[in-house]
């Protein structure tokens, strides 16, 4: 049965590679990316999709430190928990 979609945004202090690996593990595919400018900074905004669920990942471009990708999930409660657990230290 399809679960009700929920919304969650998290900001995490983990490398983008770890976020990408986690999303790939739980079945999400990168379908596109774009360069955006927000808060006076350049970001790479990526869209991951798995059936009807979507995850946006925004990471600052350049030498910024520390990097804290913003992950926005529109999906089931299970997916949200999987993402949160997958990017925990």
């Amino acid at each position: 049965m399809r679960q009700k979609q929920q919304l969650k945004s998290i900001s995490v202090y983990v490398p983008i590679e770890r976020v990408e690996a986690n999303l790939s593990e739980i079945g999400f595919l990168l379908v596109g990316s774009s360069t955006i400018v927000a808060d006076g900074k350049f970001w790479k905004k990526m869209l991951y999709v798995n059936k009807e669920e979507t995850i946006n990942v925004s990471e600052e471009i350049g030498d910024a430190y520390p990097k804290d990708p913003i992950i926005t999930i529109c999906g089931s409660k299970t997916t949200i928990l999987n993402v949160i657990n997958g990017v925990k230290y």
């Binding site: 945004s9 360069t35 946006n56």
Partner: protein
Amino acid sequence: MPMYECNEHQFVENIRRMIETSEKFLVNRKINWHDDAKYGPATLPDPEFEKYAILIFRKSLRATVFSRVPFVDDFHKRIYDQGESLHASSNLKFPRLSIPYYRVEYSINLWGGTYYFNFDALFNPEILMEKRRGKLLGKDGSLIYVLKFNPPEENILNINLPKGVMVFDVKNMIKVIDYTSNF
């Protein structure tokens, strides 16, 4: 009417909180394309600048950008010769080669206040080699690099929201100032 600026994380979390309260609300979205020379190659961070590396070069971030080879800017219908200055470090606000972008504005109105999140999405460069004709390229035409700008796909610009949250596209937002609180 106060307006509160949010970043992406704050804006989405505010919407999530609204959804959890079962409060009815509307998300407004405004997308307009601009080409007002706000963005030029000298101020692009290195990973973004690399996309143009076949055509242009610079010593470092904010240094003057020069053309590496002759090329046609198909979007602005201009042709640049080799070694031309395209974005001077002494004039960063006025690049000769500018990058078009979408201005995306999301907002929600709640209890008399407006909460908004804005960002600019740069068009993606595409570099091709094409046979073009013209005054400088001759009647028979010559092979030349062509720079095209493609708009980013809409699904990447969207904030994906659960079904049931209504998003209205608007052309403009008129700010109404409430003076009644002054009396």
